[in-house]
Every structure is written in structure tokens, then in C-alpha cells.
């Protein structure tokens, strides 16, 4: 099955076009001042639309709402899930396997359908269109990353070091803070980043639980994407996604085949 480098080159070029072409188009639009058919590239470049977007309240309010919602939901999820992940990895308790499995099984439930069921309940409780209602539902989306990645990380830490510290008389808390936690830190940080980004761009919860009173950044993007001025949505995409992309690249070694499959429930 030897292939000529030429075949590889053709595959590379077509892959490059298919995988990067759409994103490159958006980046071009974000910095285009004038791009009219049939020009292959913008004929006038600049940041004109960036300044216009940044100064507008209808743009900045949803962006700030999204950042606030996402920070609160992700942090709250971390506070309840990370200790649980430690327990799943290190402590023996009845029902441990079953409960861990329930987090997998929950991922098989189609999210949008689940949010419909929650929306009907929240409607009765007056939580639809409520900031904290959205936070609660978004926490659910974070659980996936916040249980699996940290549980695997805590499991992966060799217990020998912890045992040695115990033998020398260190308390459980001290061992946790100075031995276990530093080793788990990169995985915990990665789980935070992945949960944060996935919540930040989540449409489903914002649409079913937040709308119409709470407009988040993804909902704004949907509205802008049907507008005549193409640049506005493009600027918003680049402005929000590029920093997230950089953060995710730092966490990429936790996005392994097993990790992703587990995320889906393997």
C-alpha cells in the first residue's frame, strides 16, 4: 500500500481546503471592509467593523452576559465535580461504579430533547428567561468534562508517593494539597477550559431556557448571521473563537481518543 508523495500532497491540499477553508473565509470577512462578487479576495481591508461592533451596546451586552453565565456555571460545576472526581478515583464507597456509569448513561440522552423537558418544568417554576435557570442547565453541560477528565487524572497518579507521605506522618489534607493536587492540576485546568468553551458556544440551553429575556453571544451570532452586513457576525466569530482556540490548544493533550469517546460515554 505504498503511496507516492504526490498522492499525499493531493490529500493534504484537499483536506486543507475542506477543513480550513470555512474558517479562513470567516477570518477574511472579519478584516474585509469591501468584498464584492466576483473578487476572490476583499478589495479593501481594515478593522472598521471591529470598532463599530465594540462600541455597540446590543453587541457587548450579550457578550458580557455570556461570559458571566459561563464563568459562574463552569466554576460552580468545578466546585461540585472535582471533589466528586477525586472520590470516584480514590475512595471506595457503595454504588461507585453504578454512579460513575450514570454519568456516562446521561450523555446518551439527546441534549436538546432533555432541555425541552427541563424547559417545560422551568416554565412552571418561572425559571425560563431567568439568569440562574440558565446557569443551572449549563452546569449540566459541564459535568461531562468535569467528571471524566479529572477522574482519569486522579486515577493516573501513582499512589506510591501519597503513601510515602502518609508513612512520614502527613495528614490526608496535607498529602492532597501538596502531592495529589499539583499532579492533577493540568488535567483540572484542561477540564475547566473544555467545559468553559463548550458552554460559551452552547446554543441549546440559551435558546430553550434563556430566550427571550436572556440573549447570549451564540444567540446574537445567529441573529447577526442572517443580516445583510456579513462582517458583523464574522467579527464576533473571530473575536470570541480565536482566544478560545488558543486556550483549547493548550489543553489538547487531554483530548485523546479515549477521552473523547469517554466524553461521549465510552
Amino acid at each position: 500500500m505504498k503511496r507516492t508523495p504526490f498522492g499525499g500532497l493531493i490529500l493534504l491540499v484537499s483536506m486543507g481546503l475542506a477543513m480550513l477553508g470555512p474558517i479562513v473565509t470567516v477570518i477574511l470577512w472579519a478584516f474585509a471592509v469591501k468584498w464584492r462578487y466576483p473578487h476572490l479576495l476583499p478589495t479593501e481591508w481594515g478593522m472598521k467593523y471591529w470598532f463599530a461592533m465594540l462600541g455597540r451596546e446590543t453587541v457587548m451586552t450579550p457578550v458580557l452576559t455570556s461570559l458571566a453565565l459561563t464563568s459562574i456555571a463552569t466554576t460552580a460545576a468545578a466546585l461540585i465535580c472535582w471533589p466528586a472526581a477525586y472520590a470516584f478515583a480514590r475512595l471506595k464507597f457503595p454504588g461507585r461504579q453504578l454512579l460513575l456509569f450514570s454519568f456516562i448513561a446521561a450523555q446518551a440522552v439527546p441534549k436538546f430533547a432533555l432541555f425541552v423537558s427541563i424547559a417545560v418544568i422551568f416554565l412552571k417554576l418561572g425559571l425560563v428567561g431567568n439568569f440562574w435557570g440558565v446557569v443551572l442547565v449549563q452546569m449540566l453541560s459541564a459535568v461531562l468534562f468535569m467528571i471524566w477528565i479529572p477522574t482519569a487524572a486522579f486515577r493516573g497518579i501513582p499512589p506510591a508517593l501519597e503513601e510515602a507521605a502518609f508513612d512520614l506522618g502527613a495528614s490526608r489534607l496535607r498529602v492532597f494539597l501538596f502531592i495529589t493536587l499539583p499532579q492533577a492540576m493540568p488535567a483540572l485546568a484542561a477540564s475547566y477550559v473544555l467545559a468553559f468553551v463548550s458552554i460559551l458556544f452552547e446554543v441549546d440551553s440559551a435558546l430553550l431556557i434563556g430566550a427571550p429575556t436572556i440573549t447570549t453571544m451564540p444567540l446574537l451570532l445567529m441573529t447577526l448571521s442572517s443580516k445583510v452586513i456579513v462582517q458583523e457576525a464574522a467579527v464576533l466569530c473571530v473575536m470570541i473563537w480565536v482566544p478560545c482556540f488558543a486556550l483549547m490548544m493548550l489543553s489538547r493533550r487531554f483530548m485523546t481518543a479515549r477521552g473523547i469517546a469517554q466524553g461521549f460515554g465510552a
Binding site: M15, V116, M222
Partner: protein, 296 residues
Amino acid sequence: MSDVAKSSGGAAPGYALRTGLGPQALAGLALVAMPVGLLVTLTLWPTVRMVGATFSVDGHFSAERYFAFFNDAYTMANLRYTLEMGFVSAIAALSVSFGIALYLRFSAGRIATMIHGLSLFPLFVPSIIISYALVRFLGPNGLFQLMLEQVGFTQYRTPYLTPVGPFLAFVWENLPLPVLVLSAGLSQVSDHAVEAARDLGAKSPRILWEILLPQMRRSLLIAFALIFMGIIGAFTVPYMLGPPAPEMMSVFMQRTLGNLQDPASAQVQAVVLMVISSIVGGFYIATMVKSSAGAR
């Protein structure tokens, strides 16, 4: 985190004896209580309640809403479209990733590394971003059309707002998982097996069919189930790229709930989708369990 120390070290032995649980077990249960509670209140309870609600008409048990669902031509067209989209897109994503994984298995060097990197790129791109980007790339007068016209091709018909639009987006989004899983699987097929077959005169397609595919069967099935479940539940991609009709189930649900203000029907639609997803999910878990039992 400090309650790890407190509750496990500090629980009175008498209490632990009375409940029959050691301090470690109590600490463990206490620590997992919150996320498990979240799962119970926001997944288990709403789902069970919703299933109950769909079978209750004026306070009586009745399946009439389901009869209405399965007898409505438009609803059935949407369900059928959703399942077909899931099936066709998942098969296409698997075929493309199998090709990529095969290439990666038998080549090395900078080109292979770059192809590998490109195939993982969708992991870093949220649905809403790629949906919007595909509108701009493949849409009318988009960059793709402009590029084709540069080389003299002027007959471009945009897939935007046709079923091909969401199909392409689903294939795009679902490359990374099978590429990772299949390349891991293919790397376990030894070079010796392939060379031995070739020495005996087997041609490449036959090696593929009789040596590589059988060993990949389980990985392919698992990847198919995961991708299929993801697609039939998707909202953003069909909402942004798909035709107004037929609708995929999530878009249909959103319109039924939001525009038509008909939560009763929306819940029936949600339950049907959940049942289909859980059948595929159950099959997937069975495959996992069977294979891990076989490995032991």
C-alpha cells in the same frame, strides 16, 4: 476539598459502625452527592416526568398523543429525514476517516502529521462557528464558488438550505473521533500480517477487506453509534444550514415549543427521539461490555 480530610478522618467510629459504612465510604458518598443530585434533578426527574406527562391526557392514561405523532405525515417525514441524515452522514464520516486513518497508518513524515492535525481541527471548533463558517464558504457567492469561478467553473449550485448543507457540516464535525479511534486500531494491526498477505499475493482491496476491516469492526460500530446519536440530536447545524422543510427533530421541537406554543407535542417529539437514541446507546454499551468481557 478540605472536607475530604474532615469527613474521612473525623467521622466517629460508632456512627460508621451503626450505618455499616466506613468513614471512607461516607466521605465518598458525601463528595459525589452534589453532581449526582444535579443529574437526578436535571436529567432523571425531567425525563421521567416528561414520559409520564406525554401519556396523560386530562388526567387519564392515554397513548393518543403518540397515535397523533405516528399518524401525522409531516412529523413522520421529519423523523425519517432525521434518521436518514444521521445514517448517511455517519457512514460518510466513517468512510472518510477510515481513508484518512489508512493513509496515516502506512505513511510517515511531515505530510502525514499535517493531515492528522487537520483531521483533528474540528475538535476545537464549536458547532455554531462551523455552521456560520460553512454558510460563508459554501453559500451563494461564497469563497468556494469564487475559487471555482477563478478556474472557469461557473455552474456551482450551493448546498446551503438543502439537506446537503447539514450533511457536509456533520461529516466535517465528526471526523476527529473516528480518525483517532481508527488510527489507534490500525496501529495494532501488525506490519507482518499485511506483508505476509501481500507475499501470498493479496491485493490491497483484499487486504483491506479481509485483514483490516474485520479487526476494525468493533471500533467502527462504536464510532457509528456515537456519531449517529450526536447527529440525530443536533440542533445548531440543521437550524443554520438546513432546508425549512423537512426539519430535523430538534429544530422541529424548538418550533413546536417556541413558535407553536405546544409543549405537549414538543414533549412527545422529545420522548420519541430519546427512545431512539437510547436504543442506539444500549446497543453501543452492549458492544462495549461484550468486547471488554471478550478481552478478559
